[in-house]
């Protein structure tokens, strides 16, 4: 696609597909902002132990006397609770940053595993065709006809709580999106001449699949992948909110929000409010990036 465009328009500056992609992405300031915010969030999560004033998982550091303090109060440990504390005296700011860690890990991890499984199956379906294709696609249809929240709920009802089970549930819920996307693109791509050429050279199947076919299916896969990370994070939060997700000892953002539910009715809004804002910013920034990626990578919208 991009090769043809470059050949047709000899640029004075060397225009690689990547540079072209970057400059098109940067056309939207909002998307660029989203990217910056997301990078900051990711950095916060990675360096959490060096940033937060408190380790929210270390019960020895928590002071129950500081429970449910308003934002801005100075606690017994000598530092200010900028975002208040929850019922156990946990500093909300620390809790949120650590919660981000769990949410991001679970979200990105499950999206990555789902992507590996889904993309491989999608490629296989498109390349093998016939019965393999119809079996895989039936599975995809079955999975997609079932709403994600429900499928995830059921899997967790079967397996029980825990971070690993949440990841398994998310992977099982999401692989089908990748499979469908990759198959759709691969079906078109595999009829192109370069695949025929590769096959004529008698290259081994795996090489044709992964070196020739897969790279050309990447654009839609990247878009779906970005959106799915955001969805995975939201879904994990929802599951945790319903009490079926991560354990109470290491709360993710969703569980932090759930903890604040009962206090909200008595006006102690901050226990639910701030983790929600953090969740919101994370998801919005990822979606903004994904949205622009979709516009840039969709050849049908090219002027």
């Amino acid at each position: 696609m991009s090769d043809a465009v470059i050949a047709a328009k000899p640029a004075d500056k060397v225009e690689t597909p990547f540079r072209r992609f970057v400059s098109e992405f940067a056309e939207s300031k909002v998307a660029l902002g989203g990217l910056v915010v997301f990078v900051i969030i990711a950095l916060l999560a990675i360096f959490a132990p060096w940033i937060t004033p408190q380790n929210p998982y270390d019960l020895a550091e928590l002071d129950i006397m500081d429970g449910r303090m308003e934002p801005g109060t100075v606690g017994g440990a000598g530092f200010t609770y900028w975002l208040g504390t929850d019922d156990q005296g946990r500093d909300m700011l620390s809790g949120i940053i650590y919660g981000l860690r769990i949410s991001l890990t679970v979200g990105a991890g499950s999206a990555l595993i789902a992507c590996l499984i889904g993309a491989s199956l999608g490629l296989l379906a498109a390349y093998a065709g016939g019965r393999t294709d119809s079996v895989i696609m039936r599975l995809v249809d079955l999975q997609l006809s079932f709403p994600t929240i429900l499928a995830a709920l059921m899997i967790l009802a079967f397996l029980g709580k825990g971070i690993m089970n949440v990841v398994i549930a998310l992977v099982l819920v999401e692989w089908a999106y990748y499979a469908r996307t990759v198959r759709g693109t691969a079906l078109v791509e595999r009829r192109r001449e370069y695949i025929e050429a590769a096959q004529c050279l008698a290259l081994p199947t795996h090489r044709v699949l992964f070196r020739h076919l897969l790279p050309n299916c990447l654009p839609p896969l990247i878009v779906v992948g970005t959106m799915q990370v955001a969805r995975a994070i939201a879904l994990e939060a929802t599951l945790s909110f319903l009490g079926l997700g991560v354990p109470i000892t290491e709360p993710s953002l969703g569980l932090l929000i759930a903890n604040g539910y009962e206090y909200m009715l008595s006006g102690k809004y901050w226990i639910s409010f701030y983790p929600g804002i953090a969740l919101l910013i994370t998801i919005v920034s990822i979606n903004l990036v994904g949205d622009q990626l979709r516009d840039v990578l969709n050849p049908r919208l090219k002027k």
Binding site: V30, L142, S145, F146, P147, T148, I149, L150, L153, M154, I155, A157, F158, L159, G160, A230, A234, A237, T238, F241, L242, G243, L244, G254, I257, Y261, M264, L265, G267, Y269, S272, F273, G276, L279, L280, I283, V284, N287, L288, D291, R300, L301
Partner: protein, 325 residues
């Protein structure tokens, strides 16, 4: 068309059967309902009697066979907790969920279609950008958190709307409906808005994307070149074509709205099927979980079928294709 219909229905039945097996095994193969349902003080004989009464002493495949035969007779087991037929329990709560889902869908269409059309026709306008930013927000906001915030603002601080429950209900066709009374509507407002936010964004985006792609099509250019009025081009040539994906998705979404009402119902303590299923999962009330799932699967397959048929009516190409195969 008839062959197509028969084949689709057979396919659907097969899916129902497969799902029943998956659900049954998934739900019955884990945990031990005896531990949960029978009081720890019960002696051995009481235990055994209870196990027998619940049919939990049979091998798994026999339990499944019994389950399947009974399911065909409309009996999906008795709830361990309420000691009532599981199906009846769910059907009792169905109207509450249904009115919530339909309310949300109607809201989504009324708000989403015009906004999406506008944003698609003027993709660079300021108002369009605002709409799109709003739709990203609607996609990104986790439903449960929005629900909490709605409660915080409208119930706790402003005190305008009640935060939980269904309120007063009116009777129609022998069922209780909240939308028939003013008090019920007030109770329904927040949950319905909460449930519809995601769908509004979806409809806006689908409509906008559809309009943008359709506007580039040759037949639209031709219609313009013919000198048709912009209104005619927009509403006849463009709008009709984008209705296809929108109808499909909204139809399919009805099922997932019903499923997603699990979250909304939990937040607003709305006594529908979703609330029931969460409670049932927490106490491992298996017959209710199984019955709920089977019902939802049936509903989904029915919705899929209806959408497919509507689709083939709206788009002749689909009809021709299905005749060919």
């Amino acid at each position: 068309m008839t062959v197509y219909l028969v084949r689709r229905i057979l396919q659907a039945l097969l899916v129902v059967l497969a799902m029943s097996l998956i659900v049954f095994i998934g739900v019955y193969a884990i945990g031990d309902p005896v531990e949960i349902l029978i009081s720890p003080d019960a002696d051995q004989i009481e235990r055994e009697r209870a196990v027998q009464a619940l049919g939990l002493d049979l091998p798994l495949w026999q339990q499944y066979a019994v389950f399947l035969t009974k399911a065909l007779q409309g009996d999906l087991g008795r709830s361990f907790v309420y000691n009532e037929p599981a199906l009846k329990l769910i059907l009792q709560r169905m109207p509450a969920t249904m009115e919530l889902a339909f309310g949300a869908t109607i809201l989504a269409l009324i708000i989403g279609l015009p906004l999406g059309l506008y944003a698609g026709l003027r993709p660079d306008g300021r108002f369009s950008r605002m709409i799109m930013a709003g739709s990203i927000l609607g996609f990104s906001l986790p439903t449960f958190w929005v629900g909490l915030m709605l409660i915080m603002v409208f119930a706790v601080y402003l005190g305008w709307l009640p935060s939980t429950g269904r309120g007063e209900t009116g009777t129609l066709l022998g069922m209780q409906w909240s939308f028939l009374t003013w008090d019920g509507l007030r109770h329904m407002a927040m949950p319905a808005i909460n449930l519809s936010l995601f769908k509004i964004s979806l409809v806006i985006r689908l409509t906008r994307a559809g309009v943008r792609e359709t506007m580039l099509m040759d037949y639209v250019k031709f219609a313009r070149a013919k000198g048709l009025s912009p209104a005619r081009v927009t509403f006849v040539h463009v709008f009709k074509n984008i209705l296809i994906p929108v109808v499909t998705v909204v139809g399919l979404e009805l099922g997932s709205t019903i499923a997603f009402s699990v979250v909304t119902e939990s937040v607003f303590a709305w006594p529908g099927m979703g609330k029931l299923i969460i409670d049932s999962i927490n106490v491992l009330d298996r017959p209710v979980i199984v019955a709920y799932l089977m019902l939802i699967v049936l509903m989904f397959i029915a919705i899929n079928l209806i959408v497919d048929l509507t689709y083939s009516m709206l788009d002749p190409r689909v009809r021709l294709e299905s005749k060919g195969t």
